[in-house]
């Protein structure tokens, strides 16, 4: 099978499914409305302005919190990973903390932080800092001691050492962590919106469900899917451009 026919064959399945659903589906169905109804409902939501606002709110939360988590995680990971004694001591504690599922932190964080605009970003960042921190910690630990010695031998300034040795070595870890953190951020952001009724797609989803608006629920699901694709795509692009600039560092 050549590339073209592969592409067509894989496209065929979802298209066929949507086609059959669209043709045979009952528009009034409370649980399985045909795809056309999703688009109609999406148009309604767009007209009312709800959909865009919700998308923007969720995206803002996801991107900002991933940024915060990225920065905090990098700093913490690099600090903890810099000395073997430190990282070894900290290891079991981190293992335990890592086993707490990020979504379950949300109610606890809601209690401690209270409702407010800061809530979303803080909670999501809190939940998603782990992948970045652990990856950066690992990357920092694996910097070959010879490289560090080289930095000293060449009498490089601290800034130069950071820029020329640490950053290239740690960067793949940062990006790998972000790749995991970003989809996690979407999940936790949606959860926060649902539990704390914060503006965003999560809240719209719950509203649609309470109104028994099945087409709306599907339309929003589609939106979530598209956001996921966009966010993942963005981070994949980031990973690829980093790989291009640092070919040897990226495994």
């Amino acid at each position: 099978m050549n590339k073209m026919s592969r592409g067509l064959l894989s496209l065929a399945t979802p298209i066929a499914l949507l086609g059959v659903w669209g043709a045979l589906g009952d528009p009034a169905s409370p649980v399985a409305p045909p795809p056309q109804t999703w688009l109609t409902q999406a148009a309604v939501m767009l007209a009312a302005g709800d959909l865009q606002l919700a998308v923007l709110a969720t995206l803002k939360t996801v991107l900002l919190s991933t940024l915060v988590a990225g920065m905090a995680g990098t700093v913490m990971g690099a600090t903890l990973g810099a000395r073997r004694a430190v990282s070894d001591t900290v290891a079991p504690t981190l293992e335990f903390l890592r086993s707490i599922p990020p979504p379950t932190i949300v109610p606890v964080a809601m209690l401690l932080i209270g409702a407010g605009t800061g809530l979303d970003i803080t909670v999501v960042a809190l939940a998603t800092v782990w992948p970045v921190m652990l990856n950066v910690l690992q990357a920092t630990r694996s910097i070959h001691p010879t490289l560090i010695s080289t930095g000293h031998t060449l009498r490089l300034s601290p800034w130069s050492r950071v820029r020329n040795i640490y950053v290239p070595c740690i960067l793949p870890g940062v990006i790998a962590g972000l790749r995991v953190a970003a989809p996690l951020a979407i999940i936790v952001a949606l959860l926060v919106e649902m539990l704390a009724t914060r503006p965003g797609i999560g809240r719209l989803l719950l509203t649609a469900q309470r109104d028994f608006d099945a087409p709306g629920v599907f339309a929003l699901l589609l939106t979530v899917g598209l956001i996921g694709v966009a966010v993942n795509g963005a981070f994949e692009w980031l990973e690829r451009s980093a790989a291009r600039r640092l070919p040897n560092a990226m495994r």
Partner: protein
């Protein structure tokens, strides 16, 4: 990653953190939002003794296991079929790539529409979210089969079902097991999340209702219980695997 440091130094850190936490909590003025570790411990004990925590934990665990079994029954055959039939794999590849990334959280409202706030919602969402690692691992297990294995099957003139049962599945088993373990962890997490939003039962619901009622130490207690359940369940699974399949070590 076995540290050559004395074990004590590793336990010192969490102990120190707990002490610091206790001091910070007791030093609060006015209504405390941060419960102290002692308070949390007390609440934990109360809920354990009253039977509420064990009941909730049992519910979550049962839901996770039930979902996992369903994942095994769907995911392994499907994954193996994908690995053996090129056409099927290509036909479903885009479909799978579109469905797989959908977050479980986003699916809960849809499940509520279909099943209401019930265990069916919890299990459906959990299965949907956790079946993918099994499908992919089973597929990979078949794809990674050494071609020699398949040639042995044909030169010994083994019948299809016999080959599948006695050669192919055991050969792919190691890979399938990796997927099964991953799927199990996911089942536990997603069950809790589904309970937080879609099914008023179990540890997830206990967590959220404690938070809504502003019972801080109970919230923390439930969080702790969830973490412990996860660790214990995964350890139990590892233990079971090691003892049920000692032959896995014979593999390589």
């Amino acid at each position: 990653m076995t540290p050559r440091l004395p074990q004590t130094r590793q336990w010192l850190l969490p102990a120190a953190l707990l002490v610091a936490w206790q001091l910070a909590a007791t030093a609060q003025e006015g209504p405390s939002i941060l419960p102290s570790p002692v308070e949390i411990g007390q609440t934990l004990l109360e809920t354990l003794v009253s039977g509420r925590l064990p009941a909730d934990a049992l519910h979550t665990f049962a839901a996770a296991i039930a979902s996992w079994v369903i994942c095994l029954l769907i995911g392994i055959p499907l994954g193996m079929a994908l690995g053996s039939a090129e056409r099927l794999r290509v036909a479903l590849s885009l479909f799978i790539e579109l469905l797989r990334p959908l977050p479980a959280v986003a699916l809960i409202p849809l499940a509520i529409l279909v099943f209401g706030f019930s265990w069916q919602t919890e299990i459906t969402v959990t299965v949907f979210a956790s079946v993918w690692p099994l499908i992919l691992a089973s597929r990979s297990g078949i794809e990674r089969l050494h071609p020699r294995i398949l040639e042995v099957v044909s030169t010994l003139h083994l019948r299809r079902w016999h080959a599948l049962r006695c050669v192919i599945t055991p050969a792919a088993f190691r890979q399938i097991l990796v997927g099964a373990k991953l799927s199990f962890s996911l089942c536990l997490v997603v069950s809790v999340v589904a309970e937080m939003v879609g099914n008023p039962a179990g540890l997830g619901w206990g967590l959220v209702s404690a938070q809504e009622a502003m019972r801080a130490s109970e919230t923390f207690a439930y969080l702790f219980a969830i973490g412990i359940l996860g660790v214990c369940a995964n350890c139990a699974l590892d233990f079971a695997v090691k003892h049920l399949f000692p032959g896995l070590a014979q593999g390589n």
